[in-house]
Amino acid sequence: MHNSMKRSWFIVLGLLPALLVYTVFAILPILQSFYYSLMEWDGFSDMVFVGLDNFKELFQDELFWNSMKNNVLVVLASVLGQVPIALFIALLLNRKLKGLKFFRTIGFLPVVLSTVVISITWGLMYNFEDGLFNVFLRTVGLDALAQNWLGDTTWSMPSVLVTVIWQFIGLYLVIFMAALQNIPEEVLEAARMDGANEWTTTWKITLPMIWDTVIVAVILCISGSLKTFDLLYVMTNGGPAHSTEVMALYMFNQTFGQFQYGYGSAISVLIFAFSLLLIFVVTRLLGKKML
């Protein structure tokens, strides 16, 4: 009896610090953003309850739809860029090669760098006058191809997407490499004995065996790219003319730039709902295909 009392106290005291910090600083803010989304509020004066007006307004807000469209472009570029490239490189690396460790080390490097560093570096590379890309083009005599990469609405989004793709290929690369290493050698051996060439082995055996991992990568990729914020905030701040604005950035500018705390919170709620929904749908779709 005495012992179990002690035990209960220990459990309570052991869980309490984590529970408290987590509840106050992670869960409470989410609940509050639901609450604030129903208010008209500049963050300082009194709140006015407006029900779903913020959401109604949001659905008619062209700039919001524009930011969602750009966000979808980021998701598509990430899923269609990062995952296939990472998979291809991982398949190339999945053999006895010299320098395997070197390629993996270099491949993963961008993942550990801070997004701010990546944004500033790529911003400098895209610079019109002195940026790496234009200097290179001018050096090889292709002056006509030099562009104002981040300053021109036609080129801003594609340029940004290249950086987005570049940043996280390495993450999926090492995930795929780990999955490939887990395929038992005997299975591939047996296929080769039956006369299957490398191409057939890859399509019929290797890929189906790591398909679960591919799905996990796609889901990670989607939820990751919906959170895109730092990179674009530092690189373009959504410009020029909103051409690279994504939802989180629009939310940030509405809230802290225009002091529309209620409206900004409504965007937050939609980001939250949209990412949960998309992850749910994709899990369902890809999960079904597997069976």
Binding site: K6, R7, F10, I11, G14, L15, P17, A18, L19, V21, Y22, F25, A26, I27, L28, P29, S33, Y36, G43, I89, L92, L93, L97, T105, I106, F108, L109, P110, S114, T115, V116, V117, S119, T121, W122, G123, L124, M125, D130, L132, F136, T139, W166, L171, V174, A178, V216, L220, K227, F229, D230, M251, F252, T255, F256, Y261, S265, S268, V269, I271
Partner: protein, 284 residues
């Protein structure tokens, strides 16, 4: 005749190998060159920068570093980043490990609910909480203080920390603790001298994850910190780059300074980091 066949397959084989190495090398260059470009140019005088941007510097000029260090207050930024990163990581891992021990080793009524509640945090997009976090901190009078960033960093990294640690601790056999209890060991003593040492591989993973996340974090710092004396490296770099848009040399020197510690850490602990980040990614 009999020799021709192996020779031919050998040749085919080597062309294929060559192609594979070509593709891999292009990939490696695409990954490393932006970082290398930034580092190389940080040592060039502005004159050399305009003449030759693509190659190695003629001589390593340190002026850019002196400029960056003096104008961007790098000493302060480094100090703040080191402090926030280390304190937040230690607290997250300690609180997380204690909670994980309770969740993994004891059965009580709310155990499963509690575990799900913590793990749910991995689904919460951080940006959706920026506005209420700012208001909460303002109301608590915690904006722009040395402890501000510790709270969100701990709160948002507890889920992954607890998730990884509980799944690791659940696998331990029960008898070690039972014999320790027989010997009259207190529960905290068991946690500290038995469970923590046994969890070392998982602890290493979560420590690395937390260190890298905290060192690189930008969004919360952007919203919650305005005092230049409290800024962290990513935040300081972003405002430095915004102010000195034309001084490329100083910008690149600042960037190089800020990436050197993380690159050194990465090269030193590569295996562990890759394992930790992929575990974090797959589970998060």
């Amino acid at each position: 005749m009999s020799r021709a066949i192996p020779l031919q397959t050998k040749k085919k084989w080597s062309i294929k190998r060559g192609l594979i190495y070509l593709v891999l090398s292009l990939f490696a260059i695409a990954n490393a060159y932006p970082i290398l470009w930034m580092m190389m140019n940080s040592f060039k005088s502005s004159k050399e920068f305009t003449v030759d941007q693509l190659g190695w510097p003629d001589q390593f000029v340190l002026d850019n570093y002196i400029n960056a260090w003096n104008t961007a207050n790098f000493g302060v930024l480094f100090g703040n980043s080191i402090y926030v990163t280390i304190v937040a990581t230690l607290l997250t891992v300690f609180m997380g490990a204690l909670a994980s021990y309770c969740l993994a080793r004891f059965s009580f009524k709310l155990n499963n609910i509690m575990h799900t509640y913590f793990v749910f945090g991995m689904l919460v997009p951080i940006h959706a909480t920026l506005v209420p976090m700012f208001i909460l901190m303002r109301d608590l009078g915690l904006l722009d203080t040395p402890v501000t960033l510790l709270f969100p960093y701990i709160a948002f990294h507890l889920p992954i920390t607890i998730f990884i640690l509980t799944s690791f601790m659940k696998a331990f056999p029960k008898d070690i603790e039972e014999s320790a209890v027989m010997d009259g060991c207190g529960l905290f003593r068991i946690f500290w001298s038995i469970i923590l040492p046994m969890s070392r591989p998982a602890i290493a993973t979560v420590v690395i994850l937390n260190l890298i996340y905290n060192w690189n974090e930008f969004s919360f710092a952007l919203v919650l910190i305005t005092d230049p004396m409290l800024k962290t490296l990513p935040l300081g770099l972003a405002s430095f780059a915004g102010q000195y848009t034309t001084d490329y040399g100083a910008q690149m020197a600042g960037l190089t300074l800020s990436v050197l510690p993380i690159i050194a850490f990465y090269l030193f602990m590569e295996r562990e980091i890759v394992r930790g980040m992929t575990a974090g990614a797959v589970k998060g």
